[in-house]
C-alpha cells in the first residue's frame, strides 16, 4: 500500500447524500478478478448517459473541477461491501474523501486501500462544498500526522484510529500484523471446545 502523510490539492464537490457503492461502481463491472481498471467506470451511470454519451452535468465531467480530494454528501459509501468501490475511487485518482458521515464498511475499505476518509461537521462540509463549488482552485491541505484539515473554511482536526494512522503513514496493511500474531491465535484456538 502507498504511504500517506500529507496532501495539498484541490477538490471535487459532490453534494448528493447517501451515495451508495452501487453508484460508485455498478454491479455489472464487478466481473473482473483483479483490482485494475475499475477507475474507468467510477460513477459510470452518472458520468455517462445510457447511450454512452458524456453527461456534461455531472461534476466529474466538469473541467472546472479537479484534484485528488472528493468532497461528498452525508453518508457516503452506504450499501454493498464491494471493495471495488474503493478500488474505483483510488483508480480514478482520489486520495482523500471529505464528508460529514461515512458508511462503516466503505470507510474500512478506503483505509485498506490508502484512501483517507475525513469526517467533518455538517456545517463545515456545507461551507466547504459551497466554497469549492464557487471557487474550484480552493486549496485543501490534509496533514495526517497532526490530523488536521486546512481550508479557507478553517483548520479542523479529524479523528482516525491510531493503529490505522500508523498503517497509512507507513504503507502497512493488516495482513502482516495478523500473521505475526500466529502464536496467540493458535493458543486461542486451543481453548475452544
Amino acid at each position: 500500500m502507498e504511504k500517506f502523510v500529507k496532501l495539498i490539492d484541490t477538490g471535487v464537490p459532490l453534494p448528493t447524500e447517501n451515495v451508495d457503492t452501487d453508484q460508485i461502481i455498478p454491479a455489472r463491472f464487478l466481473k473482473a478478478t483483479d483490482k485494475k481498471g475499475f477507475g474507468d467506470n467510477v460513477f459510470r451511470d452518472w458520468r455517462y448517459h445510457k447511450n454512452g454519451e458524456f453527461n456534461a452535468d455531472f461534476v466529474l465531467n466538469n473541467k472546472k473541477y479537479g484534484g485528488s480530494i472528493l468532497i461528498a454528501g452525508n453518508n457516503f459509501g452506504c450499501g454493498s461491501s464491494r471493495e471495488h468501490a474503493a478500488w474505483a475511487l483510488a483508480g480514478y485518482g482520489f486520495k482523500v474523501i471529505i464528508s460529514s458521515f461515512f458508511a462503516d464498511i466503505f470507510k474500512g475499505n478506503a483505509l485498506n486501500n490508502g484512501i483517507l476518509p475525513i469526517q467533518v461537521s455538517p456545517e463545515y462540509l456545507k461551507d466547504l462544498m459551497y466554497r469549492v463549488g464557487s471557487n474550484p482552485t480552493t486549496t485543501i491541505i490534509v496533514d495526517l500526522e497532526s490530523q488536521r484539515l486546512k481550508t479557507p473554511i478553517g483548520v479542523t482536526e479529524f479523528e482516525i484510529d491510531s493503529y490505522k494512522k500508523i498503517c497509512l503513514m507507513n504503507g502497512y496493511d493488516d495482513i502482516d500484523f495478523l500473521v505475526s500474531k500466529k502464536d496467540k491465535i493458535e493458543a486461542f484456538e486451543a481453548t475452544l471446545s
Binding site: 453534494p15 448528493t16 447524500e17 447517501n18 451508495d20 452501487d22 453508484q23 455498478p26 454491479a27 455489472r28 464487478l30 466481473k31 473482473a32 478478478t33 483483479d34 483490482k35 451511470d45 445510457k50 454528501g73 452525508n74 453518508n75 452506504c78 450499501g79 454493498s80 461491501s81 464491494r82 471493495e83 471495488h84 474503493a86 458521515f101 461515512f102 458508511a103 462503516d104 464498511i105 474500512g108 475499505n109 485498506n112 486501500n113 484510529d161 491510531s162 493503529y163 496493511d173 493488516d174 495482513i175 500484523f177 495478523l178 500473521v179 500474531k181 500466529k182 496467540k184 491465535i185 486461542f188 484456538e189
Partner: protein, 460 residues
C-alpha cells in the same frame, strides 16, 4: 454489570487487543463467493501466505450465476471466468465449494443457515454486506471488504474496534398481512439509513420472539440498510428447533451441550445499550419504498412525503413519482420474488397461498427465484410450482439474480419493479430501473393485479 448478547459472543472471540487500537477477533466461519474473493486469493498467492484454516471456509457461486439453463456453459466470458476462478481457487486450497448445480448451491445467506453451517454464538463473515442475515441465530455475522477476506484467509482473524450497541424493540401484535419484511422496512423508514452506523443491533420484543427463523433472517438481513454492520436476535427454542438435524449441525449429546451454552447467550436483564428504540407492532402496515434508498419507505395507506431537499427531489425524479401522491393503483410491469432477503421456502408459501386460483395480470413479468437448490426442491415437493405455473409466474433457478442485476436478469430502463430484495438504489436492478421494495405478499398481489393495491382491504 450485565452483558448483552452481542458482548457475550464478541468477548468469547477476542484473541488479543492492540493498545489504543482495535481487537483481534477470531472468526469461526468464513463464507465466500465468486465476486469478492478472487482478489483476496491473488493477494495471498502474491505474498506467498497459505490459507490458515481452509476447513472453516465454505464457498458457493451465487452473485453472477444464470437463473436459466444452469446445466449449460455460461455464455458471458467474464462471468464464466469468475466462476472458473472460484473453482480453481477452492480446489487449490482445499476449500469446500457448492458450485453451480450442486444440491447445496444457493445464495450464500440462504444455503449456510439451511445446511446448519450457521449456529448460535458463532462469529461469521463474508465479503457481502448482507451477511448480517445470520445474526437471526444469535450469531455475530457481518459483511467485509476483500482486503478483510484476505486477512481472514491469512489468519482466521480480523482487526476491529468493538462496535457500539443498539437495541430495537417491537412489542405487541402485528396486523394481518404485515410480514417481517414490513417490520424491517418500517424500522428503517423510522430511523433512517445511517442510524445504525457504528453499531451492532439487537432486535428484541414479542414480535421477534414470535417470528419464524425465516422471518428473523429477513429482519437481520436488512440491518445493513440502516447502516448497522450486523443485527442479532437472541437464540431460543425456535432457533434450536431450526438448527437441530441439519446437515452440519451438532448431533446427539454434542447438540444438547451446545443448546445449554446457547441458552446462556441472552442479553442480561441489567445490561445496557448505547442506543435504544422502541416501536409498537400495531403501528406497522404493509410497506413500500418510493425512493432510491431503503429508508424512503411508507405504509400502504400513506402518501409520499413532501420534503424540500435536493437529494430527496433527485430521488423522486429518478423514480418519476410526485411529492404527496399515493402508490396505490400505480401500474407495475415487473415483479421479483427472490434475493437473500426473501427467497426462503416461507416466502414462496406466502406468495403461493395468495396466488392460488388466481392469474397473473397480463402486463406483468413475474420472476420467482428461489434462494437455493434446497428451496427449489421444496417448492416442487410442496406442489407450489404448479400453483405458480398455473398462475403464469416464471420460476427460475437459484441465485442472487435481479437483486443486483449482475447476471442477465435485469429490469429494463424506466420500468418499475415491485421487488422483495433489499436495495432500491438507482440502477440496482438494471440501468434506469425503478425498484419498489416490498414483502412477498405485496409482490404477489401486485403480480396478480398488475398494479399496486392495498390488499389489506381484501383480507378477512
Amino acid at each position: 454489570m450485565g452483558k448483552t448478547l452481542f458482548d457475550k459472543v464478541w468477548d468469547a472471540h477476542v484473541v488479543d487487543s492492540v493498545e489504543n487500537g482495535p481487537q483481534i477477533l477470531y472468526i469461526d466461519k468464513h463464507l465466500i463467493h465468486e465476486v469478492t474473493s478472487p482478489q483476496a486469493f491473488n493477494e495471498l498467492r502474491e505474498r506467498n501466505i497459505p490459507i490458515a484454516r481452509p476447513n472453516q471456509i465454505v464457498a458457493t457461486a451465487d452473485h453472477n450465476t444464470p437463473t436459466k439453463n444452469q446445466h449449460l456453459p455460461i455464455k458471458d466470458e467474464l462471468s464464466r471466468n469468475q466462476l472458473e476462478q472460484l473453482t480453481k481457487n477452492c480446489k487449490e486450497n482445499n476449500i469446500t465449494l457448492y458450485g453451480l448445480g450442486h444440491e447445496y448451491n444457493g445464495i450464500v445467506h440462504v444455503m449456510a443457515p439451511e445446511l446448519g453451517i450457521t449456529q448460535p454464538g458463532m462469529t461469521m463473515v463474508c465479503g457481502d454486506s448482507h451477511t448480517s442475515t445470520h445474526g437471526a441465530f444469535g450469531t455475530i455475522a457481518f459483511g467485509i471488504g476483500t482486503s478483510q477476506v484476505a486477512q481472514v484467509f491469512a489468519s482466521q482473524c480480523l482487526l476491529l474496534p468493538k462496535p457500539k450497541k443498539l437495541r430495537v424493540s417491537v412489542n405487541g401484535k402485528l396486523k394481518k398481512g404485515v410480514l417481517p419484511k414490513d417490520v424491517i422496512l418500517y424500522i428503517i423508514a423510522q430511523l433512517g439509513t445511517n442510524s445504525g452506523t457504528g453499531y451492532f443491533c439487537e432486535y428484541a420484543g414479542d414480535v421477534f420472539e414470535e417470528m419464524s427463523m425465516e422471518g428473523r433472517m429477513t429482519v437481520c438481513n436488512m440491518s445493513i440498510e440502516m447502516g448497522a454492520r450486523g443485527g442479532m436476535i437472541a437464540p431460543d427454542q425456535t432457533t434450536f428447533d431450526y438448527v437441530k438435524g441439519r446437515k452440519f449441525a451438532p448431533k446427539g449429546e454434542e447438540f444438547d451441550k451446545k443448546v445449554a451454552y446457547w441458552k446462556t447467550l441472552r442479553t442480561d436483564e441489567d445490561a445496557t445499550f448505547d442506543q435504544e428504540y422502541s416501536f409498537r407492532a400495531e403501528d406497522i402496515e404493509p410497506m413500500l419504498t418510493y425512493g432510491t434508498n431503503p429508508g424512503m419507505g411508507i405504509k400502504i395507506s400513506e402518501n409520499i412525503p413532501t420534503q424540500n431537499d435536493v437529494s430527496f427531489e433527485k430521488s423522486l425524479h429518478y423514480m418519476n413519482f410526485k411529492k404527496g401522491e399515493s402508490l396505490v393503483n400505480k401500474p407495475i410491469n415487473y415483479v421479483f420474488i427472490g434475493s437473500c432477503t426473501n427467497s426462503r421456502i416461507e416466502d414462496f408459501r406466502i406468495a403461493a397461498n395468495y396466488v392460488k386460483g388466481k392469474q397473473k395480470a397480463s402486463n406483468v413479468n413475474a420472476w420467482l427465484v428461489p434462494g437455493s437448490q434446497q428451496v427449489a426442491k421444496q417448492i416442487e415437493e410442496e406442489g407450489l410450482q404448479h400453483i405458480f405455473e398455473n398462475a403464469g409466474f416464471e420460476l427460475r433457478q437459484p441465485g442472487c439474480s435481479a437483486c443486483l442485476a449482475m447476471n442477465e436478469d435485469k429490469i429494463p430502463e424506466g420500468e418499475y419493479c415491485v421487488s422483495t430484495s433489499n436495495r432500491n438504489f438507482e440502477g440496482r436492478q438494471g440501468q434506469g430501473a425503478r425498484t419498489i421494495l416490498a414483502s412477498p405478499l405485496m409482490a404477489a398481489a401486485t403480480a396478480v393485479e398488475g398494479k399496486i393495491i392495498d390488499f389489506t382491504k381484501h383480507l378477512n
